[in-house]
Each structure stands twice: as C-alpha cells, then as structure tokens.
C-alpha cells in the first residue's frame, strides 16, 4: 500500500501546483459569553433534550442520588473506579468495573458518573474517561445514566470546553439521551444509547 501513499501524496502536490495561498484563519468568533447564571442556563438547555435536571446543594447529593435511582427503579448500579464515596449511597448494589463483561453491563440497571466539563449554551456533558466516568462502555450499554455535575465544571461555550479538555483522551459529548428523527422527522428518545438521562447539578 505504500505505492498508494506515494501516488496520493504525489497527486496532492500536483493538484496544488498553482500554490493556492490560504489566508490567516480569523479567530474573531466569541470564545466566551457572559451569562448571569450559568447553572440555570445549563439546566434549561440540558432539560431541552428531555433529560431530567435538578439543582442540588452539596449536602443533598447522596439523598438525591438515592431518590433518582429509586424513581427509575434502579437497583444494580455501575460505579466507575473513582466515584466519590459519598455518591455511593448504601441503598443500591454497586457494581465495580473490575472490568465488567459486556453482558454484565447489559444486565445492570444504571450507571452513575461525574463529568469532565459541561457546556451550558448547548446543554452538553463531556466525559473524558476520567476516574469519575470510567471507560466509554460504562455510560453506553446500561439503559439509564445518572450524571452528577459540579458547578465548577460548567462553562458557557464550546471553545471554553475544548480549551479545558485533553482531546487525546477518549471523549464522549452527550447532549440529552439517545434520539432519532429518522422516521418522518419525528423525534424518538432512546434508540441504542441510554434511553434515560438524569442530571444533578451541584451548586457551589
């Protein structure tokens, strides 16, 4: 295949023999925009995708996690390796990713994670496979994902989020639960990814 490589690079250089000059890239778009209440914006925008989003105080997190899992009837819940201990509420059975096999992931009721960063404007949660999130399969196979976001992880814009991320880590950007509009453009939630996404926003 090195033949193909040489040939293609050769063709590219030939094609560019007129030496097109690309101008400078204008970066005058907004990197940041100010909002009076970022958490409120995040809550509104994530909820727009039909996710259930609640703002909670740091002291309430444990109770709220228990309540959310109970509301969804989740008893066997996956915990990424670095899930904070006070999030591991005693009311459910926690499954540690030892690692778990695919059928074990499939049989679990839910997964609880943190996040790397959240984009308020677009209502997007970004996971970077860090300790509170674990490998990508954990948030993919179970049908219910409960994500806990801390106030300091919320930024306003897409450029701010990317600036915070190490893009060479495995990244997953999540905006609401799985959805399709392929049949007559009727939006249906829950195709292959988790059907339900709940979010707890911890106020600082």
């Amino acid at each position: 295949m090195s033949d193909a490589r040489t040939a293609i690079l050769h063709r590219v250089r030939d094609a560019l023999s007129d030496r097109p000059m690309a101008g400078d890239i204008p970066r005058d778009y907004d990197l940041h925009r100010d909002y009076p209440d970022l958490l409120e914006l995040a809550q509104e925008r994530i909820a727009d995708y039909k996710a259930d989003v609640r703002r909670v105080s740091p002291a309430q997190v444990g109770t709220e996690i228990t309540a959310a899992l109970a509301r969804r009837g989740a008893a066997r819940v996956i915990a990424p390796p670095g899930l904070p201990t006070d999030w591991r509420t005693p009311e459910v059975t926690w499954l540690d990713d030892t690692p778990l096999g695919l059928d074990e992931l499939d049989a679990a009721d839910a997964v609880v994670t943190g996040c790397a960063v959240t984009i308020a404007e677009t209502g997007t949660i970004v996971l970077d496979a860090g300790p509170t999130q674990g490998r990508r399969a954990l948030t993919l196979v179970p049908d219910y994902h409960l994500c806990v976001i801390e106030a300091h992880q919320v930024v306003a814009t897409v450029p701010e989020a990317l600036a915070r991320l190490d893009t060479t880590r495995p990244l997953t950007f999540i905006s609401g639960p799985s959805a399709t509009s392929d049949i007559e453009l009727d939006r249906v939630e829950g195709v292959h990814g988790p059907r339900t996404l709940d979010v707890l926003l911890i106020e600082s």
Partner: protein
C-alpha cells in the same frame, strides 16, 4: 480504470430521473414536509448564535488552510495515528479501499461487520464489495437500516430514508426483520424499538466495526464522529477492531479547530444546538474501546477535485446537508434523481468532480440540476459558493463535448439559459404554460433556446410554477 461507484450504475441521468420523481406526489409531499421542517428549525438554531458569520468565515479559512497544505497535514495525521498505536492505510480509489477493509475484516475473523453511517463508505460501495467477499455489512443507523432492509437507495445525506413514511417503514421491518412482532405498529417509537432489539445482539457480539469520520485532527491523530442514536458509540466502543474510512479532505490542522466545527455542524445539519452524541478517540487506548484501529485515507477523485482552482472548494464540505434542505430542485425531485450518494446542491458539484469522467453522462448532467437561486451558498456553514462552481462545471461540461454534437448544443443552450436570469425566467414561464397544456406533466417541447434541449430529450418541468416564482412565494411563507 474501474468505474467510480460514486454514481449509481444503471440509473438515468438527472433530467430523466427528475421527470419521473416529479410525477410522484407522495414523494414530493414527504420531501416538502421534511425539508421545510428542517429548514425552519435550522434558521432558529442558527439565529441563536451571535457570531455565526464569524464562525462561518473561520470554518472556511480552516478548511482552505487544510486543503492548501494537504500533503503536509496528511503526513502529520499519519504520524500521529501511528504513534498512538493505530495503523494508517492509503487507498487511491474505491476498489483499493474496499480490498483493504475486506482483508482486515477477514484477518479479524469476522463474517459480519457493524457499520456507522458514513458517506465515504457509501461512496465506495463498501457494503456490496464486502458482500462479494463473503462479509455482511450491517448498517446500524436507523435510516440506513431502513434503506438497507428495503433494498433501496438513500435519498438524503443526513436522513437517507426521508422518502419513506412510517407505514412503508413498518412494512419493510415486518418483511425483513424476523423478530419483529406481528402487530408492529407504525408509530416511530415502536419502529425505533424494533430496530433497537434487532441490532442489540449485533452490537454486543460484533468483532469488527466500520465507520467514517467527521473530522480528524492532523497534529494529534484524533478522530471525531458525530451522531444521534448511540449506534455510533456502540460501533466505536464495543468491537475489538475499528476500521475508519476517511476522505483525505476530512482533516483539520489542530484540535482547536474543532471548536469551530462543533458549533457549525450540528446547527446546520440537524438544527440542534448539539447532536446527542459525539465520540472522539486517538489511536488505541488500552482498556477502553477497540484495541485495534485502522484508518484508511481515501482519494477516489479528491485529488482530481483539488486540482481545479474553482471546483476545489467543494472539498470544504462537512456533509451537513443544509444545502439539500433549502434547494428548490432537491425538494421537488428528491435525492435519488441525482443518481449518486451525494444528492442536492453539493452532489451537483461534488459528484461530477469525484467521478472525473466526461463520458459519465449521469455525472455530467448534474451541474445542470440547479436553478442557481443561491440559497445553498447562504446556508453553507463553510461558505462553499455552489452556484459559482455549478456555472464553472457547466462550462467545463460543454467544453468537453464536440461543438457540433446535439448534446453540446443542448448543454450550451441550457447553460446560457440558466446563467441569464431573464432568459431563464422566460423559458420557464413558457415551460410552465406548456405544462398546463400537457397534463401528463412532461414537457417535450420548449421554445428557443430550450428547444435545443428538448430536441434531444424531454424537459423535466415542475408543474406550473417556476423555481424562482416558487422560491419567492416560499420565502414569504417562511418569513411570516
């Protein structure tokens, strides 16, 4: 050289296919509903972004920079992917790319691969090639699955089964999915659930996945795939081996550039602030995702496109499909009339360039499949001047022909007519009048200069209204 499968074999040229499509009122009403829904939503999603025009300029400039130094960036990408444990392959054409995928699938011991929807693999006819080699490709995007099970062709870049309505989908599922319940309803929710059940086992057991790429970052080797359903994440995460087929123009220089495209793409394409899922990976990550990663860099007519100083801007395209949804010609003829995996305005300029063969009549007819109203340029997030490229390609198509052939005369008459708004309007009005007299809906004679065209073929004339008149009325509607 083998035929480039970017155009479909055995389908008529655009004017003929369009004429048939225009007679299908069900298709036209499906399309009208679809394009108008997305169009209106898109306008709202874009209206929310105060720096939209600045983002468009940045997107345009990033892609131009990439194209101007494509050799350098490709080599950077190759080095970065390789240093992260991936393997890079190069493919001059469809046959070469298909052979690589087939070889890799076999090496992984797979007789089945799961696929993320991808224009590049559609363009090279990968599914058919794998089938010939004894490997079944399973489309996992709902719309692609509908097209695949229905033994059909896609009609839209983003929503390939947009020409099908819910009861047709139900019939396809009932006939083609052994496990579909007998009382399957035609509710989209029930249909999506049937697809979920049908594919779940496949996701959990597949050894090999094949995807395209929305973006690749030259300096880090990271690849990004944007999707909605989670079928993409399934394919990109669960199988041991991942094979990504990517056009050589799909890269951006740095990861910072993604901040521009992650804003431009979702709003232009599905009219959402952000699509539900975006996955990004860099080579191989031990313990997370596929442990074998192959990236196939595909030319298949892209270098030919790059060599044309006017036409090369088509390579900026990020396949958002916004131009389809605003195109009055697409709306009336549907995607399949273009006879190519790339329909609509972008197809009209990209397909003939990728095919790069003046004898391919089907491809040659495509630059004429437009009224040059300019709406496609206005919505394009990377500012591709589609009308400019169209006129350029028309001139080229005419020049390819011998001056004396009836084809050339017809083409040049069409080119003159389309290039001059006044003549165009006149001819169309004449055509519309003629259409009233010809209840079959097909117009076989037009006054001069259209007569030069209809002397050799029937002119596809949409009902009694010209595209321009229609467009004006329509624009008024959407402003209200």
């Amino acid at each position: 050289m083998a035929r480039n499968p970017v155009t479909w074999m055995g389908v008529p040229t655009f004017p003929k296919a369009a004429q048939e499509a225009l007679g299908d009122s069900q298709l036209r009403s499906n399309l009208r509903h679809a394009t108008h829904t997305i169009r209106d939503k898109r306008a709202a999603a874009v209206g929310e972004v105060p720096d939209w025009e600045r983002l468009r300029r940045a997107g345009e400039a990033i892609k131009d920079e990439t194209l101007a130094h494509l050799d350098t960036y490709l080599q950077k990408l190759e080095a970065a992917v390789t240093s992260r444990g991936g393997v890079v392959h190069w493919a001059r054409d469809a046959a070469e790319a298909n052979a690589i995928v087939l070889k890799l699938a076999r090496a992984a011991g797979a007789d089945e691969v799961v696929k993320v929807k991808s224009m590049a693999t559609a363009e090279i006819g990968l599914n058919e090639a794998l089938e010939e080699g004894g490997v079944t490709a399973i489309e996992t995007d709902l719309a692609e699955l509908i097209v695949q099970l229905g033994n059909d062709r896609p009609s839209h870049i983003l929503v390939p089964a947009i020409h099908r309505n819910r009861s047709e989908v139900r019939e396809i599922f009932r006939n083609q999915m052994p496990e579909a319940p007998a009382d399957l309803s035609s509710e989209p929710k029930a249909l999506a659930e049937a697809a979920r059940r049908h594919l779940r086992k496949k996701f959990l057991s597949a050894k090999v996945a094949v995807s395209g790429a929305n973006f690749a970052v030259a300096d880090t080797g990271s690849i990004m795939v944007v999707e909605s359903e989670g079928n993409g994440r399934m394919c990109l995460t669960l199988p041991q081996t991942l094979i990504t087929v990517m056009g050589i123009e799909k890269l951006v220089p740095t990861s910072r550039d993604l901040e521009v495209f992650l804003q431009l793409l979702p709003r232009s394409s599905t009219a959402e602030r952000m699509n539900p899922y975006t996955s990004m990976w860099t080579g191989v990550t031990p313990g997370d995702g596929p442990q074998e990663f192959h990236l196939i860099l595909l030319d298949n007519g892209r270098t030919a496109t790059l060599s044309d100083p006017v036409g090369r801007q088509a390579l900026r395209c990020i396949r958002c499909s916004a131009c389809l949804n605003v195109c009055p010609v697409y709306e009336r003829t549907g995607g399949q009339s273009y006879g190519s995996v790339y329909p609509g305005p972008i197809g009209a300029i990209l397909t003939p360039q990728l095919v790069d063969d003046p004898h391919d009549k089907q491809a040659a007819s495509l630059p004429f499949a437009s009224s040059l109203c300019g709406a496609c340029f206005e919505v394009c997030p990377v500012r591709i001047d589609i009308p400019e490229v169209l006129t350029h390609l028309r001139a080229r198509a005419v020049a390819e022909k011998s001056k004396m052939s009836p084809e050339a005369l017809a083409m040049s008459a069409m080119a003159t007519m389309f290039a001059d708004p006044r003549k165009y309007a006149l001819a169309q009005r004449a055509g519309a009048a003629a259409a009233k007299l010809a209840p079959s809906g097909s117009v076989s004679r037009l006054p001069f200069p259209g007569s030069r065209w209809t002397a050799t073929r029937d002119m596809p004339m949409p009902a009694t209204e010209s595209f321009r008149t229609w467009w004006k009325t329509n624009r008024k509607d959407s402003d209200e």
